[in-house]
């Protein structure tokens, strides 16, 4: 059976309170949820705590999962909502944008893929996005979700999800170019 179908079957069993289905869902999906949480929060320990929190909520609310959305988008939704409220609560200062642009602009070529510098630059770029754009970008770019799925996860329209993605990409592009504009 295809992974998605299998997950949705597990979702139906979960909604009936099946603990074994819950265990299987965690086993299959927790690494992916960790990746999303890490990319939004940019902190390993925080992301680990978050994964535990996400699946605790999945378990507690298992019987309210109605199955009209897929179990994937339902769990992504819980993860994204929790991460975004965590950011709201804990991150007061946003990353100074000039710094990212400066560091990128001062280089003539892309840094070595293995270097810490590259990691820092990517982290700074992604952290520079407003939280909602950040979540949409991560779901699209790294998780390869469709805009319909992203709309389900973020509770917006498909149009709004697309617009958020476009804004995010343009935002990242400008930062990486050091603010270079393309006049039409």
């Amino acid at each position: 059976m295809e992974e998605r179908n299998l997950m949705n079957e597990l979702g139906r069993r979960l909604a009936k309170g099946d603990e074994d289905a819950f265990t299987q869902i965690v086993e299959r999906f927790s690494r992916q949820v960790f990746a999303v949480c890490f990319r939004i929060l940019r902190d390993t320990e925080e992301a680990k705590d978050m994964v535990q929190e996400v699946f605790t909520r999945v378990y507690v609310k298992r019987k309210s999962f109605k199955g009209h959305s897929s179990v994937y988008t339902w769990i992504y939704r819980i993860a994204v909502n929790l991460c975004l409220s965590q950011i709201k609560r804990t991150r007061v200062q946003t990353v100074p944008l000039d710094d990212v642009a400066y560091r990128l602009a001062s280089r003539t070529s892309l840094p070595d893929t293995k270097s810490q510098m590259l990691k820092d630059v990517i982290a700074k770029l992604i952290e520079a996005l407003p939280p909602k754009q950040r979540a949409v970008f991560i779901l699209r770019f790294y998780e390869r979700l469709s805009f319909k799925e992203i709309a389900e996860v973020t509770g917006t329209s498909i149009g709004a999800a697309k617009a958020n993605y476009h804004f995010a990409v343009e935002h990242l592009r400008r930062l990486a170019q050091g603010g270079e504009d393309f006049e039409v």
């Binding site: 603990e19 819950f22 265990t23 965690v26 086993e27 927790s30 690494r31 960790f34 990746a35 890490f38 990319r39 390993t44 680990k48 994964v51 535990q52 699946f55 605790t56 378990y59 507690v60 609310k61 019987k63 309210s64 819980i78 909502n81 929790l82 975004l84 409220s85 709201k88 609560r89 892309l110 893929t113 590259l118 990691k119 630059v121 990517i122 770029l125 992604i126 699209r140 770019f141 790294y142 805009f147 973020t154 509770g155 917006t156 697309k162 993605y165 476009h166 990409v169 343009e170 990242l172 592009r173 990486a176 170019q177 270079e180 393309f182 006049e183 039409v184």
Partner: protein, 193 residues
């Protein structure tokens, strides 16, 4: 094509992203051959996509994921028994939740998000409510609904559950709450008989 002859930046992003119709794709490829501005834009997009594709997620010890289901089941069961210990019986907790919610509603009366709770309160007597919440499933659903109803306007899920709200009360406030609930329950029962 836009009126200025360029496809538009959104279309170019979709082109690099690979989410574009065959016809649009053909038109863009043709346009890029002759337009310096758009091909430079596409190049800058490809560059940032390439950079971001190198983002790696840190390695986490495998045991973290292996024992995750067990840890969660244990934790949830522990908190369930803590719940039943904290107040001797579930209905009181549930009614307390509703009362706390009402207090919250009262504090922010203008928010339209509280429709669900209003609806619940208008269609259910206190006695019905106790019936619903003495059932474990009913209680879960109620909590879920309450959480949904409390969802703030900016679309993020409210982080606190009614449990958290109750736990945030001081002992004196908690006691006062229980007295008020008991009063309410007594008046409901005497009204029903």
């Amino acid at each position: 094509m836009k009126s200025n002859g360029h496809p538009g930046d959104e279309k170019l992003i979709d082109y690099v992203d690979g989410t574009i119709t065959k016809d649009d794709r053909k038109a863009i490829v043709e346009h890029l051959e002759s337009c310096e501005r758009c091909s430079a834009y596409v190049q800058s997009l490809q560059q940032i996509f390439r950079l971001l594709s190198h983002d790696s997620v840190p390695q986490v010890e495998e045991s973290f994921f292996t024992y995750l289901p067990q840890r969660i089941l244990k934790r949830s069961q522990a908190s369930a028994s803590r719940r039943s210990w904290r107040f001797a019986f579930a209905p009181v907790v549930a009614v307390a939740s509703v009362v706390v919610l009402l207090l919250v509603v009262f504090r922010f009366p203008a928010q339209p998000e509280f429709d669900t709770i209003d609806l619940m309160m208008s269609e259910m007597s206190m006695v019905d409510l106790i019936d619903v919440v003495s059932d474990e499933d009913g209680y879960d659903v109620l909590l879920y609904e309450a959480g949904q109803a409390l969802e703030p306007a900016d679309e993020y899920l409210m982080d606190e559950t009614p449990y958290d709200l109750i736990e945030a009360l001081s002992p004196a406030e908690g006691e006062q709450l229980v007295i008020e609930i008991e009063k309410e329950m007594k008046s409901q029962t005497s009204g029903a008989s």
